[in-house]
């Protein structure tokens, strides 16, 4: 690479005077972690454990299991952060191919859990291939689009959309509405960050609107129920509307100051369903009140903005697209979950990221943050 190109690369960064790209790399950069992001993530997980302790009726075993998962997830994050974006980019098509192949395998031979086929059983490990796609789809799209100048041409948008739709449809068939939504949003986010034209965005929205009735026909009965219940939760107070009604009562009765940690009656007396998984946000609302929730949302906002800053400061296209998309998928988690629990959105099985009890999504999310940190810390230095 000629020196001029190197300069061009450096100056292509929006933060042209980025100190990261000059001088000796600092401690955090050498271990390929981002200190602000790491601190926010640790604070979030710490708070999450505290809430979980309350939501699980002060069951230390649940907290312990979650702590082990967090350990694994943070370990994976640190490991992934060590991989350079260039290497990640080269792995992208392979990871995507393997992921889609496993999704097909799930449909053919997968385990049935809660009326849906989501799991592949490898004897020792059971895991959900759909989780891989949450990373593989944005990587694949970033790989596809980063080879050419941005904004992408129509043909590449169509190809990218196709690459997104294949796993989305396969996951929706399992059926797992929540995950397919997240994977689809990952694809959309890559295209958005890539600078897809507004005209194209509008036409895509028009296509989605046109397809919606068809999707409605294809939905399972329980999925339709969820949407209908969302539109009028009081219609079925003991059935599917129960979740929403009880979670609104929990949040509303928390008021400004909350009922206090471990004092939520809605959660402790078991009125609130799925209180340590999808509906844990309602426990926070009940026990910590409006102030507690504002603090939590501020923490989420900080993490998202930090991720976007990292995306903006990334040195190459692949890094920008991937970091931006992964951060925005994290936002989709936050928004869909809080929207669902507060009754703004239909009940879709999306956990509150890094707080809800359960391992799979947490591991994927932390791997995603590993990628973001890696993008931020593996930099081509100018020898100044």
């Amino acid at each position: 690479m000629i020196p001029g190109a190197s300069v061009a690369t450096r100056s292509s960064s929006y933060f042209s005077d980025d100190v990261l790209d000059q001088g000796r790399p600092g401690f955090w950069q050498r271990i390929h972690l981002d200190a602000p992001l790491l601190a926010a993530l640790l604070a979030l997980c710490g708070f999450g454990l505290m809430v979980l302790f309350s939501a699980s009726d002060q069951d230390p075993a649940a907290v312990e299991r979650q702590l082990v998962r967090l350990g694994v997830a943070f370990g994976l994050m640190i490991a992934v952060a060590q991989v350079s974006p260039a290497r990640l980019r080269s792995w992208s098509p392979l990871l995507y191919g393997v992921g889609v192949a496993m999704l097909i395998a799930v449909l053919l031979v997968g385990d049935v859990g809660k009326g849906a086929q989501r799991w592949l059983d490898f004897g020792v490990v059971r895991f959900q291939p759909s989780e891989i796609l949450k990373l593989a789809v944005p990587m694949m799209l970033a790989w596809m689009l980063s080879a050419r100048a941005l904004p992408p041409k129509l043909m590449w948008v169509v190809l990218a959309a196709l690459a997104t739709m294949i796993p989305v449809v396969l996951i929706a068939k399992q059926p797992d509405l929540g995950t397919s939504l997240l994977v689809a949003s990952a694809g959309v986010m890559v295209l958005f960050v890539a600078g897809m034209g507004w005209g194209m965005i509008l036409s895509l929205a028009a296509v989605v609107a046109a397809v919606t009735p068809l999707v409605w026909i294809g939905l399972h009965e329980y999925q339709r129920d969820r949407v209908l219940t969302f539109l009028n939760p009081e219609s079925d107070p003991l059935g599917s509307g129960y979740h929403i009604i009880q979670s609104k009562i929990a949040i509303g009765s928390g008021g400004v100051d909350g009922k206090g940690w471990l004092n939520g009656t809605q959660s402790h007396l078991e009125f609130l369903p799925e209180r340590n998984t999808d509906f844990i946000f309602a426990v926070i609302g009940e026990e910590f009140g409006f102030t507690g929730i504002l603090a939590l949302l501020a923490l989420y906002l900080f993490i998202i903005l930090r991720g976007l800053v990292i995306a903006a400061r990334a040195q190459d296209r692949f890094g920008r697209l991937l970091a931006g998309a992964l951060t925005l998928v994290f936002f989709v988690y936050v928004f869909v979950n809080t929207g669902m629990v507060t009754g703004l959105l239909p009940v879709v099985g999306v956990p509150l990221p890094l707080i809800s009890y359960g391992g799979t999504s947490m591991v994927t999310l932390m791997a995603g943050f590993g990628i973001i940190m890696g993008i931020h810390t593996h930099r081509i230095r100018s020898r100044g």
Binding site: A8, S12, I249, G255, G324, F335, T338
Partner: protein, 624 residues
């Protein structure tokens, strides 16, 4: 080329950066939306949701009162409550009823009989009221369910007090029984007071004194979890148990009366003429009231319904029979007080009576006739012709008017639910019901207690007691007093009475003497007692009518067409302590069948030992 590339890259970086900022803006807008929503929920509507949250966790539970117990005159317990554990399903809280029961049956034995009862009671339940799937759980079963109970939402063990009747059949027709509250009763009762109660009096004393026996419901405020399990009690107001009832009824006498009837279908009502207290009230055959408490099985119920002896039929208060000659003393009193006859006036009985200008012969039970008879002799011999003549001279208006004062044709007001009023025929009644005018001949028939005249054994006993009391008609009562829980003494229930005034008070003595002679030398002479004097009157009530010239022959008649035997009496004549009415269905003559039953009861009550020996009349002739 390189410069162009550089420009492109710069533009591209700016594009991505601008998209990043747009994204950041959208993120902030979206999260603000969530914050606005939260402000709405947590700030604006906080009070509303606080109330909902409190309603969720705080439930008001009714505490059912214990039902009052029932004791006889000597303190023998007749109706008890015993603790019982039952397994209940609240159908509204169960998603798949059949699957739940299927699953339950693996933990606790559920027999087809239990299923059948459950299905039956399910139809009649109140909403959100548990329906028992199993009764009388053993301690082992309770423990087994406690282990697995968490798997069964809407299924609970309930400890409750269940009514039992230790003397069963002996008391069934007096006490009645309690059963589960059904929809019709629900519409009638005070729902808040019955909020925790599952049982209500279905008949007899249990129904008549429901208000006293039931008690006052209590409440507790409890904190419950989503599955309805009680976490702790916040506040409570204890229930007030129902009042215990102390009866006039003497269970010993009741059993004697039942034994005296033996296998015969019939009824006995014995009361204390001084206060109207029911000493014994028997309807034979009887049934086991305990079967009804938790809901009787279809098979048992069918068996009771289809029995030709009608064990469920309370003959004592619902059996309406032509009273026959047992009302002749009242007709005599009517004649005396109206002045249409005197003690000295004689009437000639030729064996039949015809109204002037009519050919129809109203026959006396003695075909040969009694000859000339005074009023006293007419009663002792129970001469029909004398009373045809007397009734004819009284006329139906005065006759039924006077007899109504003794309570005929109206409810006595006894505290046994389900009583019927009999029928005292009047001109007005006939016009209203039969749309016909009154025929003089009917008056004659009424004068000997036949025709459309109907009376219950209870009414006969009450009217007989009134004679013993010289006209004081007392409302009969089974319960003497009610004792509130914890109260030192029982509170006497009020006595209600009215008095019939005669023109001459000596007329009571006249009639009582005649009744005493009925037992000493008349139609009931076989029960004559040396220990105390009995005043009585026999009667026979026709089950089917004979033609003008047919003869009644008991020997050739099937049992169910035989006459009903009746007997009313009180004793001792000088100081009456017991008055009674006995009916033996298809028993033939009153003196032969019903009077000995009465004698055994009076002996048991008054302490006489001798029981009448072998009957000396063949009773082949219809009459008494």
């Amino acid at each position: 080329m390189l410069e162009a590339n550089l420009e492109d890259r710069k533009r591209e970086a700016r594009l991505v950066a601008s998209r990043t900022w747009i994204a950041a803006t959208l993120v902030i807008v979206a999260l603000s939306l969530v914050v606005v929503r939260l402000t709405h929920l947590q700030v604006d509507q906080h009070d509303h949701f606080s109330v909902l949250s409190r309603d969720n966790r705080v439930k008001v539970q009714p505490l059912p009162p214990a039902r009052g117990l029932v004791y006889d005159a000597n303190g023998v317990l007749l109706a008890d409550n015993h603790p019982s554990f039952s397994l209940e399903i609240t159908i509204e809280k169960v998603d798949d009823l059949d699957a739940t029961i299927e699953e339950l049956s693996r933990v606790i034995l559920i027999e087809p009989r239990d299923r059948a009862r459950f299905e039956r009671q399910k139809q009649q339940r109140m909403r959100f009221q548990g329906v028992p799937i199993r009764l009388n759980l053993t301690p082992t079963e309770v423990a087994r369910f406690a282990v697995d109970g968490h798997r069964f939402a809407g299924v609970d063990i309930r400890a409750e007090l269940v009514r039992t009747y230790p003397l069963g059949e002996d008391t069934a027709h007096v006490l009645g029984y309690v059963g589960r509250i059904n929809e019709q009763e629900l519409a009638r009762i005070d729902k808040s007071n019955y909020a925790g109660s599952h049982f209500i009096g279905k008949g007899g004393l249990e129904k008549a004194h429901e208000a006293l026996l039931h008690g006052q419901v209590g409440y507790q405020q409890v904190e419950v979890n989503a599955r309805g399990r009680v976490i702790r009690t916040l506040e409570s107001q204890p229930p007030v148990s129902g009042k215990d009832l102390h009866l006039y009824l003497d269970i010993g006498l009741q059993q004697v009366a039942k034994e005296a009837l033996g296998e015969e279908r019939g009824a006995v009502v014995a009361l204390d003429p001084r206060n109207g207290g029911i000493l014994a009230l028997v309807s034979n055959p009887s049934f086991d009231p305990n079967l009804f408490v938790e809901g009787i099985s279809q098979a048992d119920y069918q068996a009771l319904l289809s029995s030709p002896d009608k064990p469920l039929f309370n003959r004592a208060v619902r059996g309406q029979y032509p009273p026959g000659s047992t009302i002749k003393q009242f007709v005599a009193l009517a004649g005396l007080t109206a002045g249409v006859t005197t003690s000295r006036r004689a009437t000639y009985c030729s064996g039949a009576f015809s109204l002037p200008g009519h050919s129809h012969r109203f026959r006396c039970w003695r075909r040969g006739g009694h000859g000339a008879l005074s009023l006293e002799q007419a009663l002792v011999q129970s001469c029909d012709v004398y009373f045809y003549d007397l009734a004819n001279r009284l006329g139906i208006d005065r006759l039924s008017g006077f007899l109504s004062d003794f309570g005929f044709g109206a409810l006595t007001g006894i505290d046994v639910a389900g009583e019927l009023g009999g029928l005292m025929p009047t001109r007005e009644w006939k016009q209203r019901v039969r749309k016909q005018s009154w025929y003089p001949g009917e008056t004659l028939i009424v004068g000997i207690g036949q025709g459309s005249f109907l009376a219950t054994p209870l009414q006969l006993a009450v009217a007989t007691a009134a004679v013993a009391n010289h006209g004081k008609v007392i409302r009969p009562q089974v319960a003497r007093a009610a004792q509130a829980p914890g109260a030192a003494a029982a509170e006497q229930l009020p006595m209600v009475s009215h008095t019939i005034a005669l023109a001459d008070e000596h007329q009571w003595e006249l009639i009582i003497d005649a009744m005493a002679k009925v037992v000493e030398s008349g139609t009931a002479r076989r029960i004559r007692s040396t220990e105390y004097r009995i005043a009585g009157k026999t009667g026979t009530s026709q089950v089917f009518s004979l033609g003008q010239n047919q003869r009644y022959n008991a020997a050739t008649l099937p049992k169910h067409l035989k006459d009903h035997a009746l007997f009313v009496a009180f004793a001792p004549v000088e100081d009456p302590r017991i008055a009674l009415a006995v009916i033996v269905e298809n028993g033939g003559g009153g003196g032969a069948t019903a009077a000995p039953v009465a004698r055994r009861i009076m002996d048991a009550y008054l302490g006489g030992a001798s029981v009448p020996s072998v009957p000396n009349d063949s009773g082949g002739e219809r009459g008494d």
